[in-house]
């Protein structure tokens, strides 16, 4: 199993029956494939749909039905479509239970940076600023480190996406819960040691007394 799959599988366990969920582009999209079939989750996409099925049935692709990355998706019975103002009303208005987003950096205050690297990569924030600000629960799904170094850091080098503290950070090594006191290491992945997680992290981690071993 790849690191991304490990992360996606762990995030999937955070979703509950009936949740209204928005999955960001990239890694977060993989979460859908690890949901047990018995669990009914209502997928929202910021381009204007509730009831999206992230995996389209073969032969059912419609050029007017895509996810926010522009990839063809399906729509489940009961799905509905709406315009962009309504779609972000869903997000900001507290009607979205969970959003899962990728990340470039998370700091000790639990603040996420995921929309630009000044002077190098400026994709734009798309819906990310609204999602982090408005969703009831924000889960960051990202690899623990990038090729250039730590992503969970004492001090961010990149501009934040929102001043809101995210609720959970899931990596291939660990699960970390940002709190007012700091970043709490709540769980480590199978075959990983606490020392490994600490070595891969550039921020102070508070080790949960009830730390779970994957």
């Amino acid at each position: 199993m790849t690191d991304k799959d490990i992360i996606a599988r762990r995030v999937a366990r955070e979703l509950k029956d009936g949740d209204r969920v928005n999955l960001g582009i990239g890694l977060p999209t993989l979460v859908a494939k690890f949901l047990p079939p018995s669990l009914r989750v209502h997928f929202h996409s910021e381009n204007g749909i509730f009831g999206m099925s992230p995996l389209p049935g073969e032969g059912f692709e419609d050029r007017n039905l895509t996810d926010a990355g522009g990839r063809p998706v399906g729509a489940l019975p009961g799905a509905c479509a709406f315009d962009s103002a309504f779609s972000f009303g869903v997000i900001r208005g507290g009607h979205l239970d969970v959003t899962v987003l990728g990340g470039l950096e998370v700091d000790e205050q639990g603040r996420l940076a995921n929309w630009m690297v000044p002077g190098k990569m400026v994709p734009g924030m798309g819906g990310a600023m609204d999602l982090v600000t408005g969703a009831r629960r924000v889960i960051v799904a990202m690899t623990h480190r990038s090729p250039s170094g730590a992503k969970i850091v004492r001090q961010r080098s990149l501009p934040i996406t929102s001043i809101r503290r995210v609720d959970l950070v899931v990596t291939e090594l660990a699960v970390i819960r940002p709190t007012a006191e700091g970043l709490v290491l709540t769980e480590i992945a199978e075959g990983v040691s606490v020392e490994q997680v600490l070595a891969a992290t550039d921020a102070r981690l508070i080790i949960d007394p009830t730390l779970q071993y994957g």
Partner: protein
């Protein structure tokens, strides 16, 4: 009543060089592709584009970027079009990045007679620079001003000959909002049907608010 449906070349010619143009669509889904092609063919440039994204090179709004017709872009995301990013970084195109929900609301405000909207999105980030913060019941919001355009180019699944528009799935996105926010609204549709075929409850954009309808593609 004046005939609303005109050939695409006439419709696109209503966009003058230097105009502020809203273009519907999300990654090219629900974009007015025939109008975009015609802007490129007629080389109508120096445009300020207001659109969610610039799709990708060779597709949707990306064709206008390829052709060098944009002077400024106001969008939420340009990450899927490396050309827009390169032109922004070397200063050829001015890009104003706006959070997507804020962009939708600014366009809506423009079309609905509001001066702007208050949103918590962007507070304490780079987006807040130079903007007024307003506190309401203990929570801080940014004042984001309305956006209007000279022309809105929108796409629909079906139109009738009054210009009533019905949209398809995620191709709706910014189209109904933009249709309200410009001095001139030009719509193209995948299909044009007889008046009465689209029931009143299904109409999303009222035909009386659409100024020009792109006629059917001539049979070849």
């Amino acid at each position: 009543m004046m005939r609303k449906a005109v050939p695409v070349r006439e419709a696109a010619a209503r966009v003058v060089p230097g105009a502020v143009v809203m273009i519907g669509g999300f990654m090219g889904v629900g974009s007015p592709h025939r109008l975009i092609d015609e802007l490129v063919r007629q080389r109508i440039g120096e445009l300020t584009l207001i659109c969610n994204d610039t799709a990708r090179p060779g597709f949707g709004v990306g064709k206008l970027i390829d052709a060098g017709l944009a002077r400024k872009v106001i969008a939420s995301h340009i990450g899927t079009n490396p050309r827009t990013q390169a032109l922004m970084l070397d200063g050829t195109i001015e890009v104003e990045l706006v959070p997507q929900g804020t962009l939708a609301e600014r366009v809506r405000a423009g079309g609905f007679g509001l001066g702007g909207i208050l949103t918590p999105t962007g507070v304490g980030t780079l987006v807040a620079e130079g903007k007024r913060s307003i506190e309401v019941d203990g929570r801080t919001y940014l004042l984001e001003t309305a956006l209007k355009a000279d022309v809105a180019l929108v796409a629909a699944r079906r139109a009738d000959y009054h210009g009533n528009l019905e949209y398809a799935l995620t191709a709706r996105n910014f189209n109904p909002l933009m249709a309200m926010a410009a001095a001139t609204t030009i719509a193209e549709a995948e299909d044009i049907v007889a008046v009465g075929m689209i029931p009143p409850d299904v109409v999303v954009t009222p035909g009386v608010l659409v100024h020009i309808l792109v006629g059917r593609e001539p049979r070849t």
